[in-house]
Symmetry: C2
Subunit: 491 residues, 2 copies
Amino acid sequence: MSKELTTRAADYSQWYNDLVIKGGLADYSAVRGCMVIKPYGYALWENMRDQLDKMFKETGHVNAYFPLFIPKSFLSKEAAHVEGFAKECAVVTHYRLMNDPNGKGIVVDPDAKLEEELIVRPTSETIIWNTYKDWIQSYRDLPLLINQWANVVRWEMRTRLFLRTAEFLWQEGHTAHATKEEAVEETEKMLDVYASFVEEYMAVPVIKGVKTANERFAGAEDTYCIEALMQDGKALQAGTSHFLGQNFAKAFDVQFLNKENKLEYVWATSWGVSTRLIGALIMAHSDDQGLVMPPKIAPLQVVIVPIYKGEESKAVIDEKANGIMKDLKTLGISVKYDNSDHARPGWKFAEYELKGVPVRIALGLRDIENNVVEVARRDTKEKVQLSITGISDAVKNILDDIQQNMYNRALAFRNENIRSANSWDEFVQLLDEKGGFVSAHWDGTGETEDKIKEQTKATIRCIPLGNPAEDGVCVLTGKPSKQRVLFARAY
Amino acid sequence: MSKELTTRAADYSQWYNDLVIKGGLADYSAVRGCMVIKPYGYALWENMRDQLDKMFKETGHVNAYFPLFIPKSFLSKEAAHVEGFAKECAVVTHYRLMNDPNGKGIVVDPDAKLEEELIVRPTSETIIWNTYKDWIQSYRDLPLLINQWANVVRWEMRTRLFLRTAEFLWQEGHTAHATKEEAVEETEKMLDVYASFVEEYMAVPVIKGVKTANERFAGAEDTYCIEALMQDGKALQAGTSHFLGQNFAKAFDVQFLNKENKLEYVWATSWGVSTRLIGALIMAHSDDQGLVMPPKIAPLQVVIVPIYKGEESKAVIDEKANGIMKDLKTLGISVKYDNSDHARPGWKFAEYELKGVPVRIALGLRDIENNVVEVARRDTKEKVQLSITGISDAVKNILDDIQQNMYNRALAFRNENIRSANSWDEFVQLLDEKGGFVSAHWDGTGETEDKIKEQTKATIRCIPLGNPAEDGVCVLTGKPSKQRVLFARAY
């Protein structure tokens, strides 16, 4: 079974699809826009989810679960939210099927029409704040620091596996606070949690920033984000954290008695990351041979492949391999010994390269005589001979080194691809010829932002946190500007 | 804030609702039939899920994720399945909303009608077997041992928190095998996994058995189940494992090339447990003071409550409590020190009793002078004074003892409540006066089963595995019977 991969140079988006499908991460389904997450892809998501969940709990959050369905009327309670979210949704109108009276399978029972339609949640602010109304009475009930792991549905017209699908998996944090200061602090804290996770575990460097009003979450006062850069020079929003002000508290009438016994509206945040992160991971690190998994979240960290002729040598290699495997597991390293005999070593090498397993150990009879193994690392494709004595510590060090190297490489690429533009021509030329982030002055209006997007397909990815003040003029309008912002074409 | 609980004797089902809601496990939502799982209830579910997931992985299974939606036509592909499942479902008919032209909120966009309606999954056999068709070609692709953690929706008319809700959380295993023997072995293996989990972790004894044809899963050749007994004498089906034969393989045309290079249909199983288990847990163990959590899956195993007067003594107690807490955590015991000052010790005692925390430690200034603490266990309500020296080991032993004691107590109750009936009058009298399981002869027909259900509301819970052969006559019809089966009224 040969698995030919398209190269990045030949067709970047076909390369991406090949990696997702042939690498065993996900598949298309019979339902338009919905994906199947295959076992290898789901194991990756589990590792990401478990680490994020740990970080959420360490910062004082607990998990809960809210209904999949939202009554239609809830969506229109927050004025800005309805504009942003109430449109492309899956709508449940009936609750029963019946046998077709004409004998052709089953049909919707017309008598089972819901009085009010239910929307499959595109995000849960409305149903959650409707619930918080019952949970919050006094300042003693605050802060409420709740997260939910869930599936959500947004009816996207053009879908791409992981990057944009009708259904996807995510987490959504929804917190309630007594003061504005505390809510803003929470918003920023969770942005930091996301940035730490993406950089330390996914080995993808990010820029922390704030969205412009145009790009803000529908219903937020401020949207913070982390932006990553993909190998084709396009940006990808990897996570968002929203300061919601009192908008949802007012829409759902959630008030609390403060210490002075006066009623006040509650302050809110929400924040989320999704299976989209898997798309970011793929496009940040992979190459023309396949996926490259960062060791800290790789579904499988090490594979051992035996090189043998005949059953006798296989038995000897099996025994040695099992010993190495046991030592690696003692160090908490996940390892698989692939001694299946329905494929040759060369086929296995290509297969684990495609799947991005960080370290491959090849083991033959002569190696054992010499007390060595061949260790290949996926990130650099370097091979070295290492002594079997102490191999598990050596592999552990290599895994750490791969993790660091992947981050450094992605960081260098990202930093090389932030360029300043000081005129419209330069701005357009950089976008067309180099891609990446373009740092440029902008006059601060939504109109200009829209025009730039129309003409170049580039959007303002963010106003970086701690952005230095600098006097200049907008690249499009020439109007005065006090700071540069980061533009890019984006996923 | 006093939380008055209804007693079991006064109103069993109100007692159950009180425990779920006042114990902080779940709440009703704005969406008919859908519950909100609150943080304490979700933490319990996480512990159950994590343990089950570990057991699934130890038996060779991997997780994946399939779409929430199922095309309507899929449901009618397997003849028996459609009868059992295609009826009470949430049906998605549209994919877009729009602003009401009359300015009243939002309405369903009539132009965005789906060509084929989508059903929110009530169970996933159909969408999964439609996918397996692409994944299975050769015997080398088998067995396929996949599990999914997901939400599902069944439009129930009468709902009860955890026991029967429109949306619930569950896992569904879907495996594919080359031979019938292997599929039957898998079905039985997963029943054993469920039984081990429910008995060892939830401390609820179960009877393993097989369902009659009437009670079988729609589309199965055989449904295995575990049945538990609640304190009110009603049975509760705690998990099912289905041998599906080749029914779904034939419906979705899933064939594989066997070792002799001939095409054969694949053999299937599916198995699931859900958040319903939480209902079983509550009704098996709890009492009139509240929940009683088995230590192995309790969200919180130990709570320490300080008894102090004045800030000075509080500081001394805080220090000692923090030391004890640290020691307990070293042993992997979850512990909370509740030194909040907005409630008195008595209120806290009642609150943690309501929540079923297995061990409560009370700590006062005089205790510290005497180097002792008061330890109360939730299951028996016994209190003992124990030396602070070595307290963590002592608490660990008490937790183990509580787990064992809860199981033993539930087992004794269950065994006392299995009674034999040898005539119709005795059968009806036992059901009405004693409840529990009634072991009786039955003539083996679905008609008789239906009549017994009509007249007594009792169903055949299962034919126990390893059931002894015994000649007798059916309690209803007097026709000959070769074995007794277990009847009960059930949730």
